[in-house]
Structure formats: structure tokens, C-alpha cells
């Protein structure tokens, strides 16, 4: 495996991390805390939206984020031929 390739692999990894962690931050600290008040004006069924994000929605997003990460990394590993056989 070339050094160059590994650097590229790592940079792609970091890019994925950045995007996923951005979503992580926005949905929990953003929707659940900083903007919870404003979001509460919107209703999701019986839930004020900010409250829903803080008590349920963010958790669902966390789970999805991890599975997306797994999917992306499995593909990335194959692409750069560093996956475990």
C-alpha cells in the first residue's frame, strides 16, 4: 500500500467524520438546546418540536449516524484496499 494512498484514505475518513459530527452537533446541541425554544413553536403530532428533538429525535439521529458511518467506512475500506479479509 502506497503512503500517498493512505494519506488520501485518511483524508476521506476525516471528511466523513466532519460531516457526521456536524449533524450530531446540530441535532443535539442545535435543535435540542440552542434552538429548542424556537422549534417548540412547531408541533410534531402531540410533541413540541424542540422538546421532541431533545428527548427522542436526537437519539434516533445518533443511531442512524453510526450506521451511516459504518456503511461509508466499509465502502471506503474496500475502495482503498485496506479492508480486513
Amino acid at each position: 500500500m502506497q503512503n500517498k494512498n493512505l494519506q488520501l484514505y485518511w483524508r476521506r475518513n476525516l471528511k466523513y467524520l466532519f460531516i457526521l459530527l456536524l449533524v450530531w452537533f446540530v441535532v443535539s446541541f442545535g435543535c435540542g438546546i440552542i434552538f429548542a425554544d424556537s422549534l417548540n413553536a412547531i408541533k410534531l403530532g402531540g410533541f413540541p418540536l424542540g422538546f421532541w428533538f431533545a428527548q427522542q429525535g436526537s437519539i434516533y439521529v445518533f443511531v442512524i449516524l453510526i450506521f451511516i458511518y459504518v456503511r461509508l467506512m466499509n465502502q471506503l475500506d474496500k475502495e482503498f484496499d485496506v479492508d480486513e479479509k
Binding site: 484514505y9 475518513n13 421532541w52 436526537s58 437519539i59 445518533f62 453510526i66 479492508d83
Partner: protein, 562 residues
């Protein structure tokens, strides 16, 4: 059959189950004892991690806390789940590739320093021990309250069971018993929730039911908000302006603390491959999320039920559960205005009813008139939660002693058999010590658990993340960062916690941040100090930089090694 009989039966059955699993999963080598031979499937690891993570606090106390805090409870919900994203993305796969057995292993090798290893192992032991004492206390309380077994005897039984499967099977025994315990606790937690959700809003799925409508057509949460504000409390779903910074900091401290706790991290050493480490973090959070999204629903249902049952109602007409918890002194009524009715309001001058939030999960099935076996099941679930977490913590303590202290520091020539024996003795001693401490817990157990999270967030989390993502991070930077982080966080927590003897007051909190949230600031300080100091001192040796390069690539992950 009464609750007590059912409790004996169900709890007894679950204990037999754990013992059976323990015998099947005996450990024969240090690799099996420390990391279950690295052969645990991601799904099983996910369940075991979930059980390991969800302690008596998650199970019993959290829903109660949320029911009294409303929106404010979200800091626990997000704080104790969000950290898994950090674990999956920033730690688990790389640590698995690193291939050693413990967190101090990683710190010691990555920062090529036995001082770093020692600092890490002291922190690991301190964090884990304080945490486990709390669990033991929970076990004692559960036995005392439901099986009418004296508190100390209850703890003895608890440590007896843990002793058996931990000493026999080490990580292997613990992992598979945790899988069984997860099944017990999740079933026990969701069954009452489903029943209550059906009763209150006609929907069996609590997560959806929470947003449902009651029989009179109003949304449950709207009704709850109205009931709350009528009595002078803040609306249940409202996020108060003044608390925002603190909630932010607490949530962050809990998230990063989660990702820095040794007993959680070590779970990812037990899977066969790097990609298994990633996906088992996903499974772990999925299994955790089932409980964590049910809990706020239970909280809302319980709160609504409680207020509707007691507010302005005659004291003499209160149902069975009210009398029972009053008898247990976890609920108290004082008829201040002598009108025979219960005034439950926010104003402390007028308020006549005080309730310990811890009873909410246990009282909920009774409030909803569910059959006795359901209540017994909840007790078994609480015990499963406490024992599974206790076992994971005890293993960390034992491996710190036998592996990090003995093998890697004091006695490098110890044989495999010798190390295995030392590990068994260490865990036996740790179990007993934790039991004894649990019988006489210092009054400040809960405060010390807050310290545990703060320490993990301000010391381990940055040290490990920097170790993986910053090749230039060297031993001087890491150690200075860790020490400054730990010292700052500990002093702040001690100072502002009167229970620990500190003189500070709430008014003195920096930026309004309470001790529970200071770990976030500690983490930031650690980061800055570590980065600055590392750039002012020599880079790490090439061999260490090669390790960092290597752990960033999945291929080549062998079984975990010495």
C-alpha cells in the same frame, strides 16, 4: 401471589440464568479473561455494552428525574447516548486495531511513558470504583425494598453472584451474562411502559404514545403542560432561557465522559475485527436507545398520572401505592392548611407533598394497576442493570491491577498462568471491597459519580482522541493536558459541592456552569494545554508515529495481544 413471592421467583430465575451462562463461559487464558478472546460477535457485544452501560441509575432513577425535570431531563437523555457517536467515530475502531487489552495500555504505549500509564491506571481505578459503589448500594436497596432482605444481606447476595461469574469467566463470563441481563432489563422496562401507554393514550408504542391524545381528545403533553403551569411549575416541555448554558455544558460533559469511561471503551477490544468495533457501537446505541426513548415516555405518563391522582384530592382516598411509598418514607405528606386535601404545587410554602424521584419507575406499574408479576419483573430488571454495570467496572479495576500495574510495570516476567491468577484474585478482592463500601456508602456517592464523568471527559477523552488524530501529540503534551484537566475539574467539583466539603455557592459558578458540566471546560483546557506543550517539546519517536499510522488502517488487526 403477592409481589414479594413473584419477586423471589423472577429474580431467582434470572440469577440461575446468570450462573448457568457463567459456567458455560469459563475463561482459560488471560486473553479470554481480559477481552473474551476477542471473539464476541458485534450483536452480542452491542447487547453486552448496552447492559454494561445502563446501570441502576439509567434504569431506576433517570425516568424519575425526567418526570420531575421535564425538558431539563434531556441533558441526561442526550448526554448518555450522544457519547456513543463519539465512541464509534473517534475511538472504537482505532483502539481495536491497536489491539491491546486496556485503556492504560493505550496511554502507556502511545505516550511511551510509564508515568502516563500510572496516571491513567489511577484514574481508571478511581473512576470505576466510585461508580461501582453506587451500583452496590442500588442492589442493596432493591433487595431491601422488594425482597424484605436486609440491606447488607442483599449486597452480599449481589456480590456473591458477580463474584461467581466474574472470577470464573472474566470478560468472557461477564460479556455473556451481560447479554442475558440486557434481555431481562429491556423486557422488564418496556412491558409496563407498553401497558401504561395503552391505558393513557391507546397506543402500545410508548415513544409514539407520548405524543398521543388522551381519552378527552387533548394531547398528553399539552395536558401535562397545563397541569404543570396550573400548579406553578414550569411547563413540562418548555426549555427555560436561564439554564441553557449549563444544560449545554452538562450534556457535553456527559457525552465526552461516556466516550472516556474505561469500562465502556474496553468493550470494543472484545470483537474480532475493526469493522466489528464500528458496527457493535451502532448496535450498542440501538439497544440503549430502546430504553432511552421509552424512559421519557414513562416520565411523562408517570407525571401526568401522579398529578391527576393527588392534586386537590383527599388524602384519605389515596390509593395503595401512595400508602406503601409513604410507609417506605420516600413520599411524605404534611397537611399545612388542614383541609384534608393534598396541595402539590411549586411554591414551597404551600406545597404539602414531597416525593423521591427514584420511586417513579418502580411506582409506575402500581399506579397503573398492573399485575404483581410486572412489578417483580421491574425489580429483576433493576438488579440486572446494576449487576451488569458493576461487573464491567470491577473488571476494569482488576485488569488495571493485574495487567497494567503488575505485568506491565512491576513484574514483567510474570507468567501467563500467574497473570491469570492475579487477575482472578484482583477481581475477587475488588468485588468484596465494593460490597463492603456499598454497605457503608459515603453520603456523597452521587456527587462522586458526577466527578467520574467530569474526569473521564477532561482526562481520558482528549488524551485518547489526540493520540489517534494528532501524530505530533507527544508524552509531555498528553501528560500535562491530562494533569491540568483532572486537577482543574476535581477542584471545581470539590469547591462547589458542599457534600464534599467545598465552600462555594451556586452564585459563584463560572458562567453559570454547575459541577456536573465543568468536565466540558476541563476538556477544552486539556486540549489547549496539550496542543501548546506538545509543540514546544520534541515530537514523539518514529516508532510511535508508526503505531499511529498503523491504527488508522483497519487491515492487519490481529487478535488482541499482550
Amino acid at each position: 401471589m403477592g409481589v414479594q413471592t413473584w419477586t423471589f421467583i423472577i429474580v431467582g430465575f434470572t440469577f440461575l440464568l446468570y450462573i448457568g451462562v457463567a459456567i458455560w463461559a469459563r475463561a482459560g487464558s488471560t486473553k479470554e479473561f481480559y477481552v473474551a478472546g476477542s471473539g464476541v460477535s458485534p450483536l452480542a457485544n452491542g447487547m453486552a455494552t448496552a447492559a454494561d452501560w445502563m446501570s441502576a441509575a439509567s434504569y431506576l432513577s433517570m425516568a424519575g428525574l425526567i418526570s420531575f425535570m421535564g425538558y431539563g431531563g434531556s441533558q441526561y437523555l442526550m448526554g448518555w447516548t450522544g457519547g456513543y457517536v463519539l465512541l464509534a467515530l473517534l475511538l472504537a475502531p482505532y483502539l481495536r486495531k491497536f489491539g491491546k487489552f486496556t485503556v492504560p495500555d493505550f496511554i502507556g504505549e502511545r505516550y511511551y511513558s510509564s508515568q502516563a500509564r500510572i496516571v491513567a491506571l489511577i484514574c481508571a481505578i478511581f473512576v470505576s470504583f466510585t461508580y461501582v459503589v453506587g451500583q452496590m448500594k442500588g442492589v442493596g436497596v432493591a433487595f431491601a425494598r422488594f425482597l424484605e432482605v436486609p440491606f447488607s444481606t442483599g449486597i452480599l447476595i449481589g456480590i456473591g453472584i458477580v463474584f461467581f461469574y466474574a472470577v470464573l469467566g472474566g470478560m468472557k463470563g461477564i460479556t455473556y451474562t451481560q447479554v442475558a441481563q440486557y434481555c431481562v432489563l429491556i423486557f422488564a422496562f418496556t412491558v409496563p411502559a407498553v401497558f401504561i401507554s395503552l391505558q393513557m393514550v391507546g397506543n402500545p408504542i410508548p415513544q409514539i404514545g407520548m405524543g398521543g391524545t388522551m381519552s378527552d381528545g387533548t394531547y398528553l403533553l399539552d395536558k401535562l403542560n397545563l397541569l404543570s403551569t396550573d400548579l406553578g411549575f414550569t411547563a413540562y416541555t418548555e426549555s427555560g432561557m436561564n439554564n441553557r448554558v449549563n444544560i449545554f455544558f452538562i450534556t457535553a460533559a456527559l457525552m465526552m465522559g461516556t466516550a472516556g469511561l474505561p469500562h465502556v471503551i474496553v468493550r470494543f477490544f472484545t470483537v474480532p475485527k475493526v469493522k466489528d468495533a464500528r458496527i457493535s457501537a451502532g448496535y450498542a446505541l440501538l439497544f440503549i436507545a430502546i430504553l432511552y426513548t421509552t424512559a421519557p415516555a414513562i416520565a411523562a405518563f408517570a407525571r401526568t398520572n401522579l398529578v391527576q391522582t393527588v392534586s386537590e384530592q383527599p388524602y384519605d382516598g389515596m390509593p395503595q401505592w401512595f400508602k406503601k411509598w409513604e410507609g417506605a418514607e420516600l413520599l411524605a405528606f404534611e397537611d399545612k392548611n388542614q383541609d384534608g386535601l393534598i396541595q402539590y404545587v411549586a411554591n414551597p410554602e404551600i406545597n404539602e407533598l414531597t416525593i423521591d424521584p427514584d420511586i417513579m419507575v418502580l411506582a409506575n406499574p402500581e399506579i397503573a394497576n398492573l399485575p404483581a408479576w410486572v412489578i417483580a419483573l421491574v425489580v429483576a430488571g433493576g438488579l440486572a442493570a446494576a449487576l451488569s454495570t458493576a461487573a464491567g467496572l470491577l473488571l476494569v479495576i482488576a485488569t488495571s491491577i493485574s495487567h497494567d500495574l503488575l505485568k506491565n510495570y512491576l513484574h514483567p516476567n510474570i507468567s501467563e498462568k500467574g497473570e491469570l491468577l492475579a487477575a482472578r484474585i484482583a477481581i475477587a478482592v475488588a468485588v468484596v471491597a465494593a460490597g463492603l463500601a456499598g454497605m457503608n456508602p459515603p453520603g456523597f456517592v452521587a456527587q462522586v459519580v458526577a466527578l467520574a464523568f467530569g474526569l473521564a471527559a477532561s482526562s481520558f477523552f482528549p488524551a485518547i482522541v489526540l493520540g489517534i488524530f494528532d501524530k505530533r501529540m507527544n508524552k509531555e503534551g498528553a501528560i500535562s493536558g491530562m494533569i491540568v484537566g483532572i486537577v482543574f475539574t476535581s477542584i471545581y467539583i470539590w469547591y462547589f459541592k458542599p457534600q464534599l466539603g467545598g465552600p462555594g455557592t451556586v452564585e459563584g459558578h463560572w458562567f453559570g456552569i454547575s459541577p456536573e458540566g465543568i468536565g466540558t471546560l476541563g476538556m477544552m483546557i486539556n486540549l489547549v494545554v496539550a496542543l501548546v506543550v506538545s509543540r514546544m517539546t520534541a515530537p514523539p519517536p518514529q516508532s510511535v508515529q508508526d503505531i499511529v499510522e498503523d491504527i488508522r488502517v483497519p487491515r492487519g488487526a490481529g487478535g488482541a495481544t499482550h
